[in-house]
């Protein structure tokens, strides 16, 4: 009897162990902070600390060959803050350029007398890869952040300020543009 019981326990345990898959699903949770966006705020040039909507704003980026990407990051909305993806191909100093097009609706309408206003900003930074977890692997943060607005005949962005020279998270803004 006891020997029988022993055999039963043995077989039972064997089956339990053999069928128990202990591989937990390793999925990177969306709540985990990974590679951050660059957060830009728009403030009023006349009241430097007050937010001011950029009217009908559209934003596009450039690819590695500095060719404009037709897909929009932001498409024709009124907003006082934007989140932009930064390009990286290693841990060497990198530049991302963005087209910030204000009054997009004036470009889209049929009126030849009104048009949108395009400004291009240049963002320089150094990507740094930081280990997050098994599921998420590495994220990139960005250090030594700097920004400039490319001058043209009719800039709508008058002034820029770097609030945080390190882009580490998305909880606070990194850059203020005043217009």
């Amino acid at each position: 009897m006891r020997q029988n019981l022993l055999q039963k326990v043995f077989i039972f345990t064997f089956v339990i162990i053999a069928t128990w898959s202990c591989e937990k699903d390793d999925i990177c949770a969306t709540s985990t902070p990974t590679t951050p966006h660059l957060i830009i705020l728009f403030n009023d040039i006349n009241a430097p600390d007050a937010a001011k909507n950029a009217r009908r704003l559209s934003v596009r980026g450039f690819d590695a060959n500095n060719v404009e990407i037709s897909e929009q990051i932001i498409a024709n909305i009124d907003t006082d803050s934007i989140a932009l993806p930064l390009r990286f191909e290693g841990e060497t100093p990198t530049t991302s350029r963005f087209i910030l097009e204000k009054d997009t609706d004036f470009f889209l309408d049929d009126d030849p007398l009104t048009n949108s206003n395009i400004d291009i900003i240049t963002v320089n930074y150094t990507p740094e890869f930081v280990y997050v977890s098994q599921a998420c692997g590495y994220k990139s943060i960005f250090t030594n952040l700097s920004i400039s607005v490319e001058p043209d005949a009719d800039n709508w962005i008058f002034n820029s300020e770097v609030l945080n020279i390190t882009v580490e998270n998305e909880t606070q803004a990194h850059i203020i543009l005043r217009h």
Partner: protein, 247 residues
């Protein structure tokens, strides 16, 4: 097994007759004649964890071997230990890592199973302290980026090696060992582990620790299973006395 049952019946029957005889004589004290003596083997049991070579054969990302042994100290207590080596390559969408190293575990097993007659099977619980020395090689990684605006996310294929890592953990083990042939045992066990210390490589983490198995990001606990085949080298015998009527 069958003839053991039979012999048990015969012996019990004889004992029963003996008991009835002695009871007739109204003798309440236990004398030498009231006990039956069995030989109990004491010795060193050596084996391997067969799941590791089998996995090495089936899974090209894994190679491992473990030698285990126990030494019977008393009727129920065994000194036990494991010595092994493992290599595992872990590839996910974002990481490609090879961990390589060896481990040693030592502790004590306690046999809960009350064997009858001359059998020496085990259902046991025990504890171990484990230590592992290992290295991790990051073969490559893809930076995690939720934003897919630009081309494919950046992938690094530069190999980085993190050497001289170590970890210490404690584990509780439960298992069983059954004698299938004379002196040959098969066993299985489950281990619950808790990390005490671990060297974390700089700007990286341990995904796997030899002997400890998978490292969970969520905590210090780990699990493991073993399937053993072992051979008992009998060193000496001890008599086990079975008192009549008290089996």
């Amino acid at each position: 097994m069958k003839h053991k049952h039979t012999s048990y019946c015969v012996i019990s029957f004889m004992l029963l007759m003996f008991v009835s005889l002695t009871s007739v004589s109204q003798n309440n004290t236990i004398t030498e004649q009231d006990t039956i003596t069995y030989k109990q083997k004491y010795g060193l049991r050596l084996g391997i964890d067969i799941s590791k070579p089998i996995r090495s054969f089936l899974d090209e990302d894994y190679t491992g071997l473990e030698i285990n042994g126990d030494y019977r100290l008393t009727k129920r207590i065994y000194l036990a230990g494991e010595l092994g080596t493992e290599e595992l390559t872990n590839t996910t969408e974002y990481l490609d890592v090879t961990t390589k190293g060896s481990y040693f575990k030592a502790g004590v097993d306690y046999n809960f199973y009350r064997n009858w007659l001359d059998m020496e099977n085990m259902i046991y619980g025990g504890f171990r302290v484990g230590v592992s020395a290992f290295s991790q090689t990051l073969n490559g990684f893809t930076v995690y980026n939720t934003d897919q605006y630009y081309e494919a996310p950046f992938t690094s294929t530069e190999s980085q090696e993190f050497n001289g890592l170590s970890a210490i953990w404690a584990e509780m083990i439960i298992g069983m060992k059954v004698e299938v042939l004379n002196n040959i045992y098969v066993g299985l066990n489950a281990q619950l582990k808790g990390r005490i210390t671990e060297d974390k490589p700089e700007n990286f983490g341990n995904l796997f620790i030899p002997g400890f198995n998978k490292v969970f990001d969520s905590g210090r606990f780990g699990i493991g299973f073993g399937y053993n085949v072992s051979y008992l080298i009998p060193i000496y015998n001890k008599d086990k006395k079975v008192v009549l009527g008290q089996e």
